[in-house]
């Protein structure tokens, strides 16, 4: 296992290096002058050139990349004279739009996105798997039919519609959940406030995913119920409930976990729409804003972070799969 993790970690390191180099390369090819984007409408050549030097955009691309890489390990200093300042290691650059070190921005955004993703994950796994079980257990009867209505509705409604509808109706019109404008509160400081803050975003995200998981769970359960080993269990005299909840569900677990792991990784990369609607200053909103504003250092950092999360989640999913499915052995 340790050997496996070690080898995968080295592989992951290389992948991240390549991703960062590719992203870096793409940005350098974009038809924008990154220095010109650092000042607004009153950019004079003088300001642009000064910022070009301050940001290191005057250097050749490989040197810029090297500065970026070394910044991660050594930190980086910007500017000169008494207005110089530095971003300590690990530094992913400096955002001139936000006047902040990118690393700090990521550190601020991450807990919000993680809270959003974990809560939504738990919610949709509960609802999705639960409904899937009910639908499979009562195949072609009313619980199954109503769950398929849910699936149809939830998959056809885009997130921005459900999110906005929830926010406007539940919060503003019905006042069921108080409108929280003051921003993120940690679960450790104020658990109730935390839940109030996240409940609608969780529901918004969970609706879309729960539908997919309902459909998947139902199909997987029904397929498994037709397996020979389920017949064997019945032939042993095992009761229907045990057949369903032990033998059948157990077989569906491994693919479900894999799916959940990858979906979770995707969410960390950015639940852009949900974060934007509910004004959650997480990674998704950060990415969206930085793309809109061509805040290249932030886009670069969020892209690399997303790649890291996907790679790490893949590793975790692989290890989980090995735990869940005895046929899979990691070597």
């Amino acid at each position: 296992m340790l050997k496996f993790i070690g080898r995968r970690a080295i592989f992951a390191g290389f992948t991240i290096l390549i991703v960062s180099a590719v992203v870096f390369g793409i940005f350098s090819l974009l038809p924008f002058d990154p220095a010109a984007l650092t000042c607004g409408q009153r950019c004079t050549d003088q300001i642009v050139e000064a910022n070009r030097i301050r940001l290191g955009f005057d250097k050749p691309i490989y040197e810029q990349y090297w500065l970026f890489l070394s910044g991660i390990f050594l930190g980086r200093t910007y500017g000169s004279g008494s207005s110089a300042f530095s971003c300590p290691a690990p530094s992913f650059g400096y955002s001139f739009n936000e006047n902040a070190c990118v690393t700090n921005m990521l550190v601020e955004a991450l807990p919000i996105t993680i809270s959003l993703a974990i809560g939504a994950l738990l919610l949709w796994l509960t609802v999705g798997i639960g409904l899937g079980i009910v639908a499979a257990k009562f195949k072609n009867r009313w619980p199954d039919t109503s769950s398929s209505v849910f699936v149809l509705l939830a998959t056809s409604l885009p997130t921005f519609v459900t999110g906005l509808a929830l926010l406007i109706w539940v919060t503003i019109k019905w006042k069921l959940v108080p409108l929280s404008l003051s921003g993120y509160v940690s679960i450790f400081d104020n658990p109730f406030g935390f839940f109030q803050y996240f409940i609608l975003p969780w529901i918004t995200l969970a609706i879309a995913y729960a539908a997919i998981y309902t459909r998947f769970t139902r199909a997987a359960l029904l397929e498994t119920l037709g397996e020979d080993y389920i017949r064997t269990a019945r032939a042993k005299g095992v009761g229907e409930r045990v057949v369903f909840f032990k033998h059948t569900l157990r077989a569906v677990l491994a693919p479900l976990i894999t799916m959940a792991g990858l979906d979770f990784a995707g969410l960390i990369g950015g639940a852009i729409i949900t974060e934007t609607i509910f004004n959650l200053p997480g990674l998704g909103r950060l990415t969206l804003r930085s793309v809109y504003e061509f805040d290249l250092s932030v886009v670069l950092a969020t892209t690399i972070l997303a790649a890291v999360v996907v790679i790490v989640m893949n590793l975790i999913v692989d290890m989980l799969y090995a735990v869940l499915d005895p046929r899979v052995r990691i070597t």
Partner: protein, 344 residues
Amino acid sequence: MSELLRIEDLHVSFKTDDGAVRAVDGVSLTLNAGETVAIVGESGSGKTVTSLSVMGLHKKGSAQISGSISLNDGGTFKDVVSLNDDQIRDIRGRAVAMIFQDPMSSLHPYYKIGNQLAEAYLVHNPGKKKAAMARAIEMLDLVGIPEPAKRAVEFPHQFSGGMRQRVMIAMALMNSPQILIADEPTTALDVTVQAQILALLSKLKKEFNMGILLITHDLGVVAQVADRVNVMYAGRIVEEGAVDDLFYSPLAPYTLGLLKSVPRVTSKNERLKAIPGQPPSLINLPVGCPFAPRCEYKQHSSEAGCNTTKPALTGTSPTHRSRCHIPESLRHDLFAKELRELQS
């Protein structure tokens, strides 16, 4: 010999969108202790449906079952057809156990062998975990798994095909059932392994004094282990009798066809004599003899009944009966002659 199982006039049909599939159409048979009774037939002949009926494994909603399946549960006879779910579950795995065709897919891939075996015991002896595990190891040993204690904590994928079928047999025997249903137990296995498994079944039958209901399409297997044979075609038994009667003087044209289609060492240059045509659809069975469209001997029938009436199961000997409109004596001579030609 005590009777373990008596199936009488069993009908099983399944509802489908195209109509009712009459999978089993009036089957009657018996199984005694210490005896191996084979049900032989092509796929779709109703042999597996019959065996699953004995286990009560058909879904209540989809299968319509009539007739009776009397099963000896430690001296008292119970009719599986009329039992409720809990009562059937109580019999399953205890009074009657079953092993299946494909040992690869019949074991749960995610549970350890020992646990899967133990579960069979625990279902009927709740709470006795230690005893269950001990029994599991004992059974593994009995079916010839070396180092049973060690193998018990392994997963199915760590076993070969033959070993898995031994595991399945061990699982079936966990509660010392009186009846063992073996549904194509060797079909998925190598020939050498087949013989071992059949020998094991014979040995265990004696040790446990069981009756084995053997479901197979393989006449070779039948010849090796069966005492009595029921040949099924299109959901009905077309011939029943002792194994020797059947092999040496078959009475149903279908049985003869089966025998003729068995490859023989002596006739290697000849092409296999397959029965022409396909089995009929079980949704719209012909009004006459279901085998009539494929029957080479129709012209010998004195009546025109082949196409209009289904023949009854009759025979001059009560232990050797068959369904055919051609007079039995005529068939006896005709078929015996063909068999002789085939063997020469």
